[in-house]
Symmetry: C2
Subunit: 347 residues, 2 copies
DNA sequence: CTGAAAGCGCTTACAG
DNA sequence: CTGAAAGCGCTTACAG
């Protein structure tokens, strides 16, 4: 019997009920471990369910219960280290609690733009959503409100929602002070973004923190040493090459991300500058390639951020806990010194 | 009325039917663009649906129609370049055809192992699945058969299923011959994996192709120059450092992946060897950081692989086309020469 | 061209 | 502790 069910089609709750000699309601209760079922009955139902290879249809369960056990994870793009790492952490942490990840990569084919969150992406399809460094426009916030979905933001804040992130100002202060403590005074910066992405907070916050830290230490940041970059290694390479080719070079560069730091490292290598003798370089992230590159950096624990965000959302989903802006989790960062920084050469 | 519906709850097909003065069956047909609906009726229904902000409940649609519009994408891990890139490509290509990606990252917390595909991950939850470089054990293939799901494999083949991949043997031949054509004879290799992962084909195929190519050109591959690596940059760095520290050095190294090539590049830099003067290095992939690193490599078009796999699956889902082992799509590869390779120094 | 009704496979009060 | 029945919100023959 079990064999036959197995070979023809997957069985339904009705099959289990018939085979166990009880009603479908009882099967439902027994399988979900609800209270009012006798030990005897439960055992029999479980045994039959196993024999029949029964797994409840998630789609039927969703329709009846109103919950999908699916969480939407929305990213502005996926191919950068931070995003892939955090999606991985979220997926594992949710699956450990029987939830699944429906993935949305909003990166558009047309350069420099992204798709909008839309109702038919989310409506009745997910129980909640986690956003990754995603500044939402008012319409999107509105949509989330109307859909009445629990949301947890990672990285970039969303009004009225919990946030899990590192403290960008602190991280940049750590990077900058690492250089200053080493004795550097001539420090350049890579990672100033164009005005049209001013709505993304992280770049702004890091740059401001760099400037504030320099000021506090009585150092001047020269505008000409604040390099633009779209936060890719390529653009950092380009701009750093220009800066480092000039006669008046900084003794150190802080890059607002490790990927940009890779570009700086490469610029130095191509120009024949020795790191850290001629130039110290520090980044922020602890990218998976940073150890290999010997890059000193400010490490952020991406995995932890994913796990914390997942737990917050699950608390809302499973225990009905309210989510609001008051819940701000800042994950600590720390300097990891490798071989790309040292005291400046006496000149 | 529309306003009220909007502010209180999302509307259902019944709301639209009532408001438009037709039956739910007619709404269903009109909205899905089916034949037998008068232009008048259709127009009215569409208008009302829009006013009410109606979006069909995917979960109800799934239960009634038997299709979820969701595709499972299963990866052994996510945080490496290839996987993140291809997931991104798949997500976009599927979403363009109204399908969504349910993501499974099988990487386990316990090092070196992965989770099994299980019935409750897939059963009634997805219409089909795409596997990424995932060697399946017999039980998993069996499960896929019982579930009767269309499957497309990327990278690593699965018995009885279509495959989208590059030709590993050709790619490695291209890499090796690039070096040979440049005049190299003393060529080392990084990327031999331990025996316990012998079921993953790519590493085996690439190594065999390296050896065959060397042989064909009358060159000997010394066993001592075949370096082990778990395919991370770290382990390549470690083994390359050892090799390059010896007196008897190769003039070139081919790495079976760009990430490993990064480790080799770093080893050379740390040891003060100049690339390409003292050592030529070539990889396979064209990783997003390869251009910045100046790495010569054999490019594979990951995006295209994702798109092709998505289309194959959609043909099966939407047009009922059968999928089987006979469908093998090999995406072409090509050498991209940058600054990490050159003719060997005359010695 | 349109509607009434059954059905998809569950969950959830409500009785008992 | 257990069952009968309604309901979740759609789709799909079947009539007309």
């Amino acid at each position: 019997m079990a064999e036959q069910a197995r070979s023809t089609r997957m069985s339904t709750i009705t099959d289990v009920a018939r085979e166990a000699g009880v009603s479908v309601a009882t099967v439902s209760r027994a399988l979900r471990g609800l209270d009012r079922v006798s030990a005897d009955t439960r055992e029999r139902v479980l045994k039959v369910a196993q024999e029949l290879d029964y797994v409840a249809s998630p789609t039927a369960t969703s329709l009846a219960s109103g919950r999908t056990q699916v969480v939407g994870v929305v990213a502005p793009f996926l191919t950068r280290w931070f995003f892939a790492s955090i999606v991985s952490a979220i997926e594992k942490s949710l699956r450990a609690r029987s939830h699944h990840v429906l993935l949305f990569d909003l990166e558009d084919d047309s350069y420099d733009s992204r798709l909008s969150l839309s109702q038919n992406m989310l409506w009745k399809r997910v129980d909640g959503v986690i956003t990754l460094n995603l500044p939402l426009d008012p319409d999107e916030v509105d949509l989330l409100d109307r859909l009445n979905l629990p949301v947890v933001a990672i990285g970039t804040p969303i009004v009225g929602r919990p946030l899990v992130a590192i403290d960008d100002a602190v991280a940049m202060r750590q990077a900058t002070e690492h250089l200053i403590d080493l004795g550097h005074q001539r420090i350049a910066y890579v990672g100033a973004v164009p005005d049209n992405v001013a709505h993304v907070l992280t770049p702004q916050t890091r740059l401001e923190s760099f400037r504030a830290t320099m000021r506090e230490h009585g150092l001047q940041d020269q505008q000409r040493w604040i390099l633009a970059s779209d936060w890719t290694a390529d653009s950092a390479l380009e701009h750093a090459t220009e800066l480092l080719s000039s006669n008046d070079r900084p003794s150190a560069i802080v890059a607002a991300s490790d990927e940009m730091a890779f570009g700086v490292l490469r610029a130095a290598a191509v120009l024949g500058l020795s790191v850290p003798d001629d130039l110290s370089v520090i980044g922020i992230d602890d990218h998976s390639l940073s150890a290999v590159m010997g890059l000193t950096t400010v490490r952020q624990d991406v995995q932890q951020q994913g796990v914390v965000a997942g737990e917050l959302l699950l608390e809302a989903l499973l225990e009905g806990r309210d989510l609001d802006e008051s819940q701000q989790v800042h994950v600590p960062t720390e300097v990891v010194m490798r071989t790309s920084t040292s005291a400046p050469r006496r000149s």
